[in-house]
């Protein structure tokens, strides 16, 4: 059964996978180079990463049909690390990221991702898009109109070329045309060659040359943690999208482990950390890819092209890459969230906007996500902590009945006792908790306090309608506060 499944994963769709893999490889090259430039490293670092990650993930990943490589989200996290400490520390951080992700997989933490609300995820992709966009702006400083014209032409080709044919990725077509214009027109514009060198050789295994000390770990650990969380967040989101597009299921914990293994290999072969890519995975599935073979072909074909065409790659104008990145930003951004912002619940909109704002201020996607999750938790607590108390006087029995409705826990009980009249003329009070639930000792404490205050006025309290869980909690810890008081 297992061998059969393996055969199906690899050889179930050979023609579609090979063709889609080639298309993805062509579309990956400009992105891998541009993301390297965002991270502040040589283009080879992103290209080696894309090769290693795509190939390794094709073997050990949990979601066939998904494409992983060097990504913008990861590149944005590592900018400061590269600027302050250099490439070797990035490689070490990449390996550590892989180790953390494997641990995430082993401890089945993929499930934890459900605590990231969707408004935070929307904020995450929007912030990512804005940051990819703004990362291109420095390339325009001191440039002439030629740069703007070339970027405009790049975008025009990217969006209009698919009307003619979809066989060749339009981003690649744009790169070829714009490079040809720049080379044959002798335009003096910045090129990829100015940003770093392209080595026309396969990656080799090397151990990052860093001092193996506590200080080193303290430098790379925060980055590795951010990278592993961001990587898994985007990878699992992408896996869900591919699940939906192909109408199939996938193993999320296996995918977490796979991402980890891929990053470890990438780090040892001179590549930066990466993760799954939404855009490329959509291209892959649309082009007919659905098996493991397509990611494998994408990685191998990408490396082949670099080895053969490295000389061409250095001549690509930065304008063409900036144009491609603008397209990536536009398609990453979730436009429907802006269009429907006024229709969303206020709190969801606030969480989304806060996530984006914090990312843009701190330049750190993981801090934005954390802030978004915390803010939604606070909103949730605030929403659920509304407790309604209605009262009714039973004249015959000389008894007042309070009906409590809502969740009683630490955040909701502070105002709770104020809703009762302790200086009452009745002799008996009934607190009906049929529509309430006691969650913690603060809730039990609040009831004890109410009981005590009534007792001070000579009023007897009776509880009704406690559900089983609440009753157990109350019996376990209730009565402690007033027992010790007298």
């Amino acid at each position: 059964m297992k061998a059969e499944q393996l055969k199906q994963d690899w050889l179930g769709n050979v023609k579609g996978d090979v063709l889609a893999g080639i298309v993805v490889a062509l579309a990956l090259i400009p992105e891998a180079i541009a993301f390297s430039i965002i991270a502040g490293v040589d283009p080879m670092v992103g290209l080696y990463a894309s090769f290693c990650i795509a190939v390794v993930i094709s073997i050990v990943g949990g979601r066939p049909g998904m494409i992983s490589a060097a990504t913008g989200a990861m590149a944005l996290v590592m900018v400061d690390l590269v600027a302050d400490h250099g490439l070797q520390y990035l490689l070490a951080a990449t390996i550590l990221t892989g180790i953390l992700q494997i641990l995430f997989g082993i401890f089945k933490l993929a499930k934890v991702m459900k605590f990231v609300p969707r408004s935070v995820m929307v904020g995450f992709v929007n912030a990512l898009a804005i940051m990819i966009f703004t990362a291109q702006l420095p390339h325009f400083v001191g440039e002439t109109w030629v740069m703007y014209a070339l970027v405009g032409a790049t975008l025009a080709i990217i969006y209009l070329f698919p009307r003619l044919t979809k066989a060749v990725p339009s981003t690649l077509m744009a790169i070829i045309v714009i490079t040809a214009i720049a080379v044959f027109g002798n335009l003096s514009v910045g090129t990829v060659g100015d940003m770093g060198s392209i080595a026309q050789q396969l990656p080799v295994f090397l151990i990052p040359s860093i001092p193996l000390t506590w200080e080193t770990l303290m430098i790379i650990f925060p980055y590795a943690l951010s990278l592993s969380v961001i990587g898994l967040l985007e990878s699992l989101l992408t896996a869900n999208i591919v699940d939906d597009m192909t109408d199939t299921e996938s193993n999320k914990n296996k995918e977490s482990r796979g991402q980890g293994i891929a990053n470890i290999v990438s780090g040892f072969f001179g590549g930066m950390a990466g993760c799954a890519m939404i855009g490329q995975s959509v291209i892959n599935v649309k082009s007919g890819g659905s098996g493991r073979l397509s990611a494998f072909v994408a990685g191998v074909f990408l490396m082949f092209l670099i080895v053969v065409l490295g000389g061409f790659v250095v001549q690509i104008p930065m304008a063409a890459l900036a144009g491609v990145m603008f397209m990536v930003a536009i398609s990453t951004f979730d436009w429907s969230s802006v269009k429907n912002l006024h229709k969303l619940p206020r709190t969801d909109a606030a969480v989304m906007v806060t996530t984006v704002t914090i990312v843009l201020i701190t330049h750190d996607l993981s801090i934005g996500v954390l802030a978004g999750v915390l803010l939604s938790a606070i909103f949730f607590a605030a929403k659920i902590s509304k407790v309604k108390v209605t009262e009714e006087l039973d004249m015959r029995m000389q008894k007042r009945v309070y009906q409590v409705e809502g969740q009683l826990f630490f955040a909701s009980v502070s105002d709770f006792p104020k809703k009762f009249h302790f200086a009452d003329s009745v002799k008996q009070v009934e607190i009906d908790l049929t529509h309430a639930h006691l969650w913690d000792d603060s809730a039990v404490g609040a009831l004890d306090k109410i009981e005590m205050k009534f007792a001070q006025n000579g009023i007897e309290v009776e509880y009704t309608g406690l559900n089983q869980a609440s009753k157990q909690l109350k019996n376990r810890i209730g009565g402690l506060s007033n027992a010790s008081g007298h």
């Binding site: 459900k114 609300p117 969707r118 995820m121 929307v122 992709v125 969006y159 209009l160 009307r163 989101l237 869900n240 999208i241 699940d243 939906d244 597009m245 192909t246 109408d247 939404i278 959509v282 599935v285 649309k286 979730d334 429907s336 969230s337």
Partner: protein, 138 residues
């Protein structure tokens, strides 16, 4: 003549208008209607991003084609609904040709020239490649 009618919908106003035509055709010829809604890559991305899990995604899509369902139910015509994944144009054509439908009814989105240039027209693609007659509802 038109026994098996394929009705392609996208949940928009335009597509809901085409439902009436499909029903009329089915009533006239004593045929059945199969409504299809195709989820493309970008829609899949948007839907998954905005939902907590796949059950919610499914629920939202069913809600999206609910007006179509309601109208078909009210008409009393024998019908089925399908949610497919892929590129809408080719997917509808593939579905229509494979299952040998007698007619495809599809709404035109009413795009202007520029939008058609960039987005492409699904109804034109279907009209060109489907093996059966295609009714484009404007």
């Amino acid at each position: 003549m038109f026994k098996r009618i394929l009705l392609a919908v996208d949940g928009s106003e335009h597509s809901i208008r085409s439902v009436k035509y499909a029903i009329e055709l089915a009533e006239k010829f004593g045929g059945t209607v199969d409504a299809v809604y195709v989820v493309d890559g970008d829609t899949a991305k948007k839907d998954v991003l905005h939902a907590t899990d796949k059950f919610e995604v499914e629920k939202k899509r069913k809600e999206k084609i609910k007006p179509v369902r309601d109208e078909l139910l009210a008409s009393g015509v024998v019908f089925g609904t399908h949610i497919l994944h892929g590129d809408p144009g080719p997917k509808i054509v593939e579905f229509a040709n494979e299952r040998e439908f007698d007619c495809v009814v599809i709404g035109s989105r009413g795009l202007n020239n520029l939008q058609t240039l960039i987005l492409g027209s699904v109804s034109h693609k279907v009209a060109k490649r489907a093996a059966c007659p295609v009714l484009i509802v404007k």
